[in-house]
Symmetry: C2
Subunit: 174 residues, 2 copies
DNA sequence: ATAAACTTTCAATAATATTTGAAAGTTTAA
DNA sequence: TTAAACTTTCAAATATTATTGAAAGTTTAT
């Protein structure tokens, strides 16, 4: 006699946490940070540092710093419970809000500085006849144009709290 | 007497290469790979391995592997010159094409596999009364939904060779 | 077939990023 | 004020990733 073998919850949780961690590290986000986020995403209640350390087998220091970073990214929040000293952590569960939060942070940390630099670099002066100079200027100007357009698009997207526009593009029906 | 001091080409080139490298490493792309790409982007002509090694002070092995990777990403191409043994490399200079190429590669390498996993994970079976199970299923299903919508959007974007739609969104006028 | 010109490989090394854990710091209740 | 409960810090250790360079491999002209 055979049983159809579907995946069980503990295995599924592990796989999800692992995959989220890998994805994070491929996108320049610390693997542990992504894993802690994944863990809180699939946890019904808020968790203590202790529980997180236990579940992911990480040290206290690591857990603490990672949780602090996640709060800095606006992806998780602290919860205080009356009569308890311990801090509880829980994640924002709305995927659209998560995406927006991440986009906002990376824009601030990376896009804004590079646009500032590109603006500076487009002012470089030189001989218009020099191919070196011409190619440099053209490339930098083009990238600057793209960066600014991405920037504008992100701003629109981030500003629109309830965006029929992006909603219709991404077909997200809450 | 004072001179208004604008940036000169060699300094500007250095800064651009450095910034592009940093940006790359923040997004999970090898810093050297991004720098070689930057160098070819601002070079009017194709360059040999030798010249690239020299300009960026990197080893032969590193240059070779990096160039191979960049070809794999579809960001640069080889050029053969009649009567010469050396290989010359040059970069695609159209920023929109670069963006599309990168999007395509990352979709293939990262989005596609994660969608596959998420599809699997949504089939997990368990007790609908169990909050652990419910939260897991809801979170994974929501993320899957977002991933699929991003996927669909990317496919549309990548398919449209000359897209009035994305063109109008990003306001790119070639 | 040979050798020069060039490219590729990969084990060793170096650089970078992450993690640990014990000590120091902080807060709260009594 | 004290001490227990909890959080934070950071130097050292570990793990990961990138780079080197010499040797092996390949191609082409003669």
């Amino acid at each position: 006699m055979y049983y159809i073998c579907t995946m069980q919850l503990p295995e599924a949780k592990l796989k999800f946490i692992e995959a989220w961690g890998k994805l994070g590290s491929e996108w320049g986000i610390n693997r542990t940070m992504a894993q802690v986020h994944a863990l809180l995403l699939i946890s019904p209640g808020a968790m203590t540092t202790e529980e997180i350390m236990e579940e992911l087998s990480i040290s206290r220091g690591n857990a603490n710093m990672t949780l602090r970073d996640l709060i800095g990214w606006g992806l998780i929040e602290k919860q205080h419970r009356a009569g308890e000293r311990k801090e509880y952590f829980f994640a924002e569960k709305d995927t659209w809000a998560i995406a927006r939060q991440v986009a906002q942070e990376r824009k601030k940390r990376e896009l804004d500085p590079i646009i500032k630099l590109l603006n500076e670099l487009t002012t470089v002066e030189g001989d218009e006849k020099d191919p070196e100079f011409k190619t440099f200027k053209t490339s930098v100007t083009d990238i600057n144009k793209l960066a600014k357009n991405v920037n504008r698009t992100l701003e629109t997207m981030l500003k629109a709290e309830e965006s029929w526009f992006w909603g219709s593009i991404f077909k997200i029906f809450k």
